[in-house]
């Protein structure tokens, strides 16, 4: 996913999925879906990830933007955007954060001034996930410069080839391109790309935030498959590997003497077994919570702020899961790239997982939300 070539392979995969009707099974048929229920979608996700299929480069679009489009877009916009998004023909990136507005989203300052049918954009966006490869950005911009904080914001859909928009790639922690910074200098975006009403961007955006933190972004199938792979790794550890192949738990074979004998070799593994089990248990706990939630949603209830503790849970589980795998790998855990165990997938996964507790509202913000909105503690 992380190189231009890798990205093209991913796009190809999205096209194949879409052709088979498996890109967006929960969507209406007219947009390439199968109208399946939330529970069916959860099951689909379990199968998808268990099969070892790759991550979805279209995730920002189909998980974050699409729910907003279904709720707020005009019929024309739905017609225009949904199918190409589902088909992987148009890849979307979220352009919300600004250098001075990360957790504090209401502080954002990129201006979009109305001039007839057009908005004139000036300002800067940063940390746009997958922005390096995206065709479109969905952004929150300030259309009323007089209004403060949450007021006066609008939700815009912005093509990458917009004149006056410069896209600068920013490498992620693994050194691979992924993020983008956007610089707007009198960039023109047409009013047909306004999502929801002008000035209502905050309300529109919060609907997306709900899906980002809740079920749509991270189905349990992903973590169940990860935990299963972790269990398999733990079960295979202790078997020596041929030279040149990673997987030898080097430190576990370090010399021991006298009564230290009990602390060596296979018993080292024992101390990690419980961590492995904990990850497996939590992946299943997330599963049961999601099924229960899906049934509640199906009976007309809404998700609300509980989405925040889901986000804390899966993001921290994802870090633990990969950290445990790296510990199991011992001294070879630090290896990266194709010569590492599983082609470097564990290290890649670890680096990817580290973003979880940060993005889509840091887990500190999420804990505030749980305390204030779920438990009802006073804001200040």
């Amino acid at each position: 996913m992380d190189t231009p070539e890798g990205f093209e392979q991913h796009r190809e995969w999205e096209k194949q999925l879409f052709a088979g009707g498996w890109s967006v099974p929960a969507w209406p048929e007219k947009y390439g879906g199968r109208d399946c229920s939330l529970v069916e979608w959860l099951l689909y996700e379990e199968e998808y990830w268990a099969s070892g299929a790759p991550g979805r480069v279209s995730a920002n679009g189909i998980s974050l933007l699409a729910p907003t489009i279904f709720s707020f877009a005009t019929a024309e916009q739905q017609e225009r955007f949904l199918r190409p998004m589902a088909a992987g023909e148009e890849i979307w990136s979220q352009a919300w954060s600004e250098p001075n507005a990360g957790s504090d989203l209401a502080a954002l300052s990129t201006k979009a001034q109305r001039q007839g049918e057009w908005f004139v954009l000036n300002g800067q966006k940063t940390w746009c996930s997958r922005g390096a490869f995206a065709d479109w950005f969905f952004a929150l911009v300030r259309t009323d410069p007089e209004a403060e904080r949450h007021r006066g914001l609008s939700y815009l859909l912005i093509p990458r080839d917009t004149q006056g928009l410069e896209v600068r790639e920013v490498a992620r922690i693994d050194g691979q391109p992924g993020f983008a910074e956007l610089f707007f200098e009198d960039a023109l975006v047409h009013e047909s790309n306004l999502l929801g009403e002008e000035g209502q961007g905050w309300a529109v955006a919060m609907a997306t935030t709900g899906s980002e933190r809740g079920l749509n972004l991270r189905a349990p199938g992903r973590f169940m498959a990860g935990a299963d792979r972790l269990v398999a790794l733990a079960a295979s550890e202790g078997q020596t590997s041929p030279p040149g192949v990673a997987g030898l738990p080097v430190a576990q074979a370090a010399p021991d003497s006298g009564s230290a004998a009990r602390g060596a070799a296979s018993e080292t593994l024992d101390s990690l077994r419980e961590d492995v089990v904990r990850c497996w248990v939590e992946s299943r706990a997330y599963r049961w919570l999601c099924y229960e939630t899906a049934e509640r949603l199906a009976s007309g209830e809404s998700l609300g702020s509980e989405a925040s503790f889901m986000k804390i849970f899966w993001s921290e589980l994802d870090v633990e899961l990969h950290a445990t795998a790296l510990r199991l790998l011992g001294e070879t855990g630090e290896l990266a790239g194709p010569k590492a165990q599983a082609g470097g997938a564990w290290m890649d996964g670890y680096l990817f997982a580290l973003s979880g507790p940060i993005y889509a509202g840091t887990n500190e913000i999420q804990r505030n939300i749980v305390a204030e909105r779920v438990l009802g503690l006073p804001r200040r």
Binding site: V39, V231, A234, A235, R273, E274, V276, V277, R278, W280, V281, E282, R284, A285, Y286, W288, L289, Y291, E292, A294, E295, R296, S299, E306, F309, I312, F313, E364, Q366, R367, N368, V370, A371, E372, V374, L375, G376, L377, P378, R379, R380
Partner: protein, 348 residues
């Protein structure tokens, strides 16, 4: 598998919650902890009238013929109220074992009485017994002195032992609701329980402890949230401080994830082993108990901390629930024990 409860199940649980709210205030819990009798006879009677004790009793014996899924929310409610009665032992473990046995005479005699709450049936963790003097067996049993019948195991076999056939040496637990004792008995003076399995007794006991734990933890969280909204320091409620918020958010998260797993485990153990193998059921149960125990331990730790010194006094009711949380989290295998069992079940 459904991921929600039926309306019958919810109605019974709701009724129980109302009865407990009315008839089982903290003052009752406190009084029973310090009592000679060891449990609340009035409350026990009320539970009998309500049908709560008849849930797992087959209809043929005057019961409701329901299963673990029907029981789980009742146990949760009893935990929330810290109800000082042997509900876990009786309805959660003892009665289902009697309902399972093919020794019909035994069932015929005991189950109608058990359904009505006229007797107490207790049970011990199978496999926890050890060899006593001579031919006797010694088991660690809760409510042994209060029970009329105890379901005990010896070398993998289950037995029903009447009170007059066992000797109790009472012990003191930090949790006044746990009337523990070493019970000395002999298989020769006991009825065999063909058809009932010690494995099932164990799974049901674990599940019941998990269900009560989440009720206990829920109560701890609720009372602590109420307290930190009221209590002020440095000119504002302590609940407005981020450290306190995050402590309690962590508890809420742990609870939110433990609960569905406990319900899922209740579903699992009510399945036929042909549909869901014993090993698969055990995975559900151990996952649930490890999550519920950890959640209860976390709730106890964080809720005491958020209360501060007032929670550290005997005058405050908090300690009644703290101690319930500790003993339930440790009994029927603690979180560690169940993760170790899972490691084996997962083949690692």
């Amino acid at each position: 598998m459904k991921f929600s409860f039926g309306s019958d199940q919810l109605a019974l649980a709701e009724t129980l919650a109302e009865v407990l709210a009315k008839r089982c205030p903290p003052e009752l819990v406190r009084a029973v902890w310090q009592s000679e009798s060891g449990y609340s006879e009035e409350l026990w009677e009320a539970l009998g009238e309500l049908g709560v004790l008849a849930v797992a009793v087959p209809e043929a014996y005057g019961g409701l013929g329901m299963n673990q899924v029907d029981l789980v929310k009742l146990l949760e409610e009893s935990g929330r109220a810290a109800a000082p009665v042997p509900l876990l032992e009786h309805a959660g473990v003892g009665v289902p074992a009697l309902a399972e046995t093919t020794a019909t005479e035994l069932a015929e005699h005991w189950l109608p009485l058990a359904a009505a709450g006229e007797v107490i049936v207790t049970a011990a963790v199978p496999g926890s017994e050890h060899q006593g003097d001579g031919n006797t067996v010694v088991s660690l049993v809760s409510y042994a002195a209060q029970a009329d019948l105890a379901i005990l195991s010896c070398q993998g076999e289950l037995f029903a032992v009447e009170q007059q056939n066992y000797q109790v040496q009472e012990l003191e637990s930090v949790d006044g609701s746990r009337r523990l004792g070493w019970v000395e008995w002999s298989p020769q003076d006991a009825f065999g329980l063909p058809g009932a399995s010690s494995e099932s007794v164990f799974e049901r006991g674990v599940l019941a402890a998990a269900a009560q734990s989440i009720g206990v933890a829920d109560h701890l969280l609720e009372t602590t949230v109420a307290y930190v909204k009221e209590r002020e320091q440095f000119g504002k409620p302590v609940g407005s401080y981020q450290a306190v918020k995050h402590h309690l958010a962590d508890v809420a998260k742990a609870m939110g994830f433990a609960r569905p797993s406990v319900y899922a485990a209740a579903w699992a153990v009510s399945q036929d082993t042909e549909k869901l193998t014993q090993q698969e059921q055990q995975k559900f149960v151990s996952a649930a108990k490890s999550l519920a125990s950890d959640a209860a331990d976390l709730a106890a730790r964080k809720c005491l901390q958020c209360h501060g010194a007032i929670g550290y006094t005997y005058e405050s009711d908090l300690h009644l629930w703290l101690k319930r949380a500790w003993s339930l989290s440790a009994s029927w295998g603690d979180a560690h024990w169940h993760r170790r069992r899972l490691a084996g079940l997962l083949g690692i």
